[in-house]
Symmetry: C2
Subunit: 231 residues, 2 copies
Amino acid sequence: MSVVNLISSCESCTRRWKNFQHLTKEQLNIVNENRYEATFKAGEIILKQGSPTSNALFISSGMAKTYIEGLHGKNFIISIALPGRLILGPGAYVDSRHTYTVAAITSVQACFINFEIFKQLVRVNGAFAESLLEDISAKSQGTLNRMVNLSQKKMPGRLAEALLYFADVVFKNDEYEMILSRQELGEMTNMAKECVVRILKELEDSGVVYSDSSRIKIIDREKLIQISVKG
Amino acid sequence: MSVVNLISSCESCTRRWKNFQHLTKEQLNIVNENRYEATFKAGEIILKQGSPTSNALFISSGMAKTYIEGLHGKNFIISIALPGRLILGPGAYVDSRHTYTVAAITSVQACFINFEIFKQLVRVNGAFAESLLEDISAKSQGTLNRMVNLSQKKMPGRLAEALLYFADVVFKNDEYEMILSRQELGEMTNMAKECVVRILKELEDSGVVYSDSSRIKIIDREKLIQISVKG
DNA sequence: CCTATTAATTGATATTTATCATTGACAGAC
DNA sequence: GTCTGTCAATGATAAATATCAATTAATAGG
């Protein structure tokens, strides 16, 4: 990993976290002086579950997966980490440990911000603190929603949900490169990889999506939403 | 529900949320002046999912269940709400709606605190804000952990986990009154009620717990933990 | 271009879990 | 006390999902 800073300053950064708008110019400067950049190749681990939360992470380009290393060596993929979003597990405010691992899917340019500095800014800036609460709350609500869905929906519903997540959140397009393997798609939807293949095929046979091993195209969005919602 | 305040003030309250220690005397006074108490009978709904988060909730006595009303009328029990803990779903900072319903299991004395006031205190008091972040983060981490466990553990592991939750968190005792029905225990562990019955019987047959319909006694804690951890 | 390796696919089968139907136990209403 | 409804328990069965084994595609190195 290289350590050259490619972004000249937070102030001019186009991928800047929107919550930084609540900081004063001086405070943003403090952030800028306490960050460092690094680039990672696809497959490399950016943050490791259990390691100390010495930094908050942002991605300036590329994509990563965040996942919990669970029982019997089985992973559980939580989300796709994208540019412009704060990547900071709840452990930062619980046991000062990363709750999940973050691994690069594509080549990734990452920006690390000293967490003690970050935390200090939260303490002194009420609006910033509130915006962090909003960010964390949104993630927490997402997790609760996800937990209920994983519990109550059957496989087609869970997979449909994941396909829509990629279309709506990750790529903002109904046709996209499937950056996860079938195995990983299973780790995200709690399915065996063989089941992912089969249900994907069912969705294709019924004309809802087109899929080859590396590409997904949503053909009948309404129907896919219906499958996702009905469970 | 009655509206007589039984607790004279926050300052003297023995069930006070520990995070209030970060407030000044004046700030605690503001809280005190913007709260109201109410009592609920077993079965009554204290907060309804989807309704506006006009208040943060605390329970001064009794127990309640918090649950999400999910698909096809199926509930998902998130936790047992206990005295001394903040009950505020993430929706408060997302869409100003309660993320889950809270219903009294026993007779409950509740204390409602105006959420706008609460939020204002978060804005002006950095230490209080940080303590709220810690509280919310702990819950969020718990949810993530729960989601992974529900996904990766089989029924015996999930049920064992719930039994230990009651022993360790709710009652702090290895013998306790099972306040949830088999149906509800299933809503907590994502199992059909019949399966709860069967696995409870298996645990009893193997000498791990004693159970009758209303009581649980953990006999072999080590083995129960092992079942819970191994999944 | 060929080969080694990994990922995707497929079919057969086993396991896990849910549903259905029925019976028994218990608690509150009258 | 008896009725009545709800919850618990049990057995039989069905549905959902995982695993295993084998084959085929895709891909990265040499």
